[in-house]
Symmetry: C2
Subunit: 161 residues, 2 copies
DNA sequence: CCTGAAAGATGATGGTT
DNA sequence: AACCATCATCTTTCAGG
């Protein structure tokens, strides 16, 4: 579970330029390219770096509608079916468990309100145990980044020089 | 504004394997590597692919707390200061405009409740024009992907074979 | 973690339909 | 106009230190 200063810098860099070459990073961090490659490989092996992804503009691929759906389940035994639906439904980008015993918050992306209606009114509300769902439509997105706050937030545990 | 079938396949692939080589993609799509590289380059040039990013496990870098904060502003003239704060604050990963005239939804990541308190009670509520803020703490995350739903959702406009 | 060499990927050029 | 093939250059990878 140790992440030193160098790992941190590698992570920060790869979060904003995930396709940069090891050589670039190497010159930036003043170490050799194989060292960077090895560290990046190990970070991924340890699950700290989970993967690399192209960041795509949703509107460019027809996904103009973004919404948050707060869902309330009545009983724990209905969770399984709900969670299975969440996993297999691509329009659901995120699902967070938020409250006492049956509240979830979904981030949903689709083309238009017709798609959203199909998703919420037909699919979601058709599941067992859905007590209530409140949908909040996003009018515009001011900021949306996958970069995690790291500068002063994650103090290094090892500072091996 | 045209995205054909090939572009779609490239996008889908790069969303789940953003560091794959052009050669790999080329053999997968049955075309040459330079063709893939050229298309990927143009997709990025057109802003459809906005960049590439390493996906990092937040908990591995000490970010164990995730929260959503719903903010209400009183007047439009206070928006500017608020939005500036949002942009410069790394802990705010997302900011969506959601309602009538002054409602925003923030996705906030930090280490613990102390950090969250500093962020919401000291920084956010210290801004001009903040009427109300309701914080929802996430207990656990069931699903969180940056992959956009594309399979049947974005029908190709050109299907040049 | 570094150096060096082999294997591979990228990027540019010219040619093809 | 888009794609393919080839070659020069750069990067990655693997050896050994």
């Amino acid at each position: 579970m140790g992440i030193d200063t160098l790992d941190c810098k590698i992570i920060v860099q790869l979060m904003s330029n995930g396709r940069g070459t090891w050589s670039e990073l190497a010159t930036l961090l003043q170490i050799s390219a194989p060292a960077v490659a090895e560290r990046a490989r190990r970070l991924q092996e340890r699950g700290i770096i989970q993967g690399y992804a192209a960041q795509v503009d949703p509107r460019a691929v027809g996904l103009t509608l973004l919404a948050y759906v707060a869902v309330t389940l009545d009983r724990p035994e209905h969770r399984v079916g709900f969670l299975a639906w969440v996993q297999q439904t691509d329009a659901v980008q995120e699902c967070h468990h938020i409250a006492g015993d049956g509240d979830y918050l979904l981030k949903v992306r689709c083309r238009d309100t017709a798609d959203l209606e199909e998703l919420v009114s037909n699919q979601l509300k058709g599941l067992e145990g859905i007590v209530r769902s409140r949908t909040t439509i996003v009018l515009s997105t001011v900021k949306e980044t996958s970069r995690l706050p790291m500068p002063a937030d994650a103090p290094e545990r090892n500072s091996a020089n």
